[in-house]
Amino acid sequence: MSEDELAQLQDQLLRYQKRYQREKAARKEAEVLLEQRSRALYDANFELSTVAAQLEKIVEWRMAQLSEALLKAEMAAKAKSEFLAVMSHEIRTPLNGVLGMAELLSHSKLTAEQGEQVATLQECGTSLLALINDILDLSKIDAGKLTLEQRPYNLYALLDSVVNLFVPKAMEAGLHIEWQRPQGSAWLLGDATRLRQITSNLLSNAIKFTHQGAITVTVGIEPLEDTFDMKRLVLVIRDTGIGMTQEQLGKVFTAFEQADSTTTRRYGGTGLGLAICRRLAEAMGGRIDVSSEPGVGSCFSVHWVATETSAPAAEAPVIVLPEEAPSPGAAALSVMVAEDNTVNQKLIIKLLDKLGYRDVLLAANGRQALERVSQGGVELILMDMQMPEMDGLDATRAIRQLELDCQPHIIALTANAFDEDRERCQQAGMNDFLSKPVSLERLSVAMQRASSLLSKQKQPSPAGEPDTQASA
């Protein structure tokens, strides 16, 4: 190898060495950089997780605040509904007295003027009662406490009865109700009471806001596509009344609003009816539509879906009111009234007297009632639900525990108007339920029912026959 070649080789080697050193230095530099970045990333992550933790704490705090607020709101809603229940009772109790006494008064000998005054008194009391019921209904629906029944009812028969109820009122106003009733019957599953309420409300409105012409009631029923027994229903109530503008239509379903606030003066009413109707229809899974033209008339249509059902095997027994007021067995029946309110005591006794029940026993509370019943001989009790010392429910339960030759028939008598109360009475062992104010007619029906049942019990009957309602 020549010296030149050697020098060249050495030079080459030196170059490679430099190149190697350069690459190594670059690698180390990269490693240092990477570590620095890793460290920065760690710090950033740490900061982020700190922020996240803080956020989490804030969220937790907010959640706590929210749930506290929710709890407060729920408590307020509960307090509201409890208040309503209490108020309902408190208002109904004196109203019961007012209406009852007015009714008794109307049956006494009066001059024409006095008769008119009493009629006005009764009318005012009745509308006050209706108002209380409306407010209760609305608050109950708003509280989501409305439970709808699912029982068979005959739609056409239901509409028959509602229309018939309004015919006199329409005639009085010079109007004609045209009920285009389809043939036959239509048995559906649902809440007949609520449907009756909607129909009555719409009919009552139609009459109220129509000065001449007619009110037409039609009903449409058609099968719902892709179903076996579901029906699409539409109930239309059309009037030739004063009608409404577009703007008025917009707020007609709002609680406490009427199409025109001046109508409150002219036409009366609270503006609750349609709000309730709409909510009821919605609760039934349906809706209410309205179209109207000022001066031409309004048309309300209720749309809902229901299951068609077959007619029940035997229709509910019809209780026929006897024509003559005092029933023959009345005097023989031993009746007790358990009621703490003296006005109500007086009223019930007077009403019973009118029906021929005399020598009625009195108990001021549940305990007194229980004591008297345990001595035997009491056949029928009109039992108030709310009484001091021992309420009607407890008293009934205790009475049902007694070993008596014959258990008394117990009719709950209460100012509590909620459906739950009816259920509670039934569970406690009561046989019947009358909500206050009790009218002479309703009391009479209940008493008739009771006495037929009791007389049936007294007669020797085949063993094991169920204790069902008697067909008079």
């Binding site: 570590e35 890793s38 760690y42």
Partner: protein, 179 residues
């Protein structure tokens, strides 16, 4: 095992022996990675064992002695590469007492998956520090070398007594006495 241990080991071999020795032991060890290590990677511990074994065979030095020497070398390098890890320490005992609490924590910030030995302080006073070393890798000689490296770094004189607490050497007590 962290890449920095590999790169520093090969650096040491290059500086104490030669670059050729590095090539040779990589060749001898027949390792999968081919010796292309970077400080920021992670490699199988078995490769380190193979490299040390190869170096021991080529140099005729005991593996334990080589590992100890590497530990000693490594402390100086760490002090240079990661000055912040011994910042604020004025003597070897301070550094050694801080390994678990401070240094290892810093390592985990960069390498969350790093598997580090446990160095527990059993007792300490001005003159004597007792440490408990625990590691499945049984690298007590490396720890021993690091301790010596720390003493030398601060110009301190000391004696290190190594007391293995089990046969395989995964648990070892170190008594460091300043003289």
């Amino acid at each position: 095992m962290k890449g920095v241990v590999f790169t520093e080991f090969l650096e040491m071999v290059e500086s104490r022996f030669s670059a050729d020795m590095v090539d040779d032991i990589i060749e001898d060890a027949g390792i999968k990675s081919g010796g292309a290590y970077t400080a920021v990677g992670s490699y199988p511990f078995a490769e380190m064992v193979a490299l040390v074994t190869a170096l021991s065979q080529r140099s005729g030095l005991e593996p334990q002695a080589l590992i100890y020497a590497f530990g000693h070398y490594l402390f100086g390098r760490f002090a240079l590469l990661y000055p912040y890890s011994i910042q604020g320490c004025s003597n070897a005992f301070m550094v050694l007492s801080n390994i678990e609490k401070h240094i290892h924590q810093e390592v985990h910030k960069l390498y969350p998956d790093a598997q580090l030995p446990h160095i527990e302080v059993l007792s300490s006073d001005e003159r004597c520090l007792t440490l408990l070393y625990r590691s499945p890798r049984c690298l007590a000689p490396l720890a021993s070398g690091l301790i010596q490296g720390a003493l030398d770094h601060f110009g301190e004189q000391g004696r290190i007594v190594v007391e293995p607490l089990n046969d395989e050497g995964s648990k070892v007590r170190f008594v460091v006495e300043l003289v």
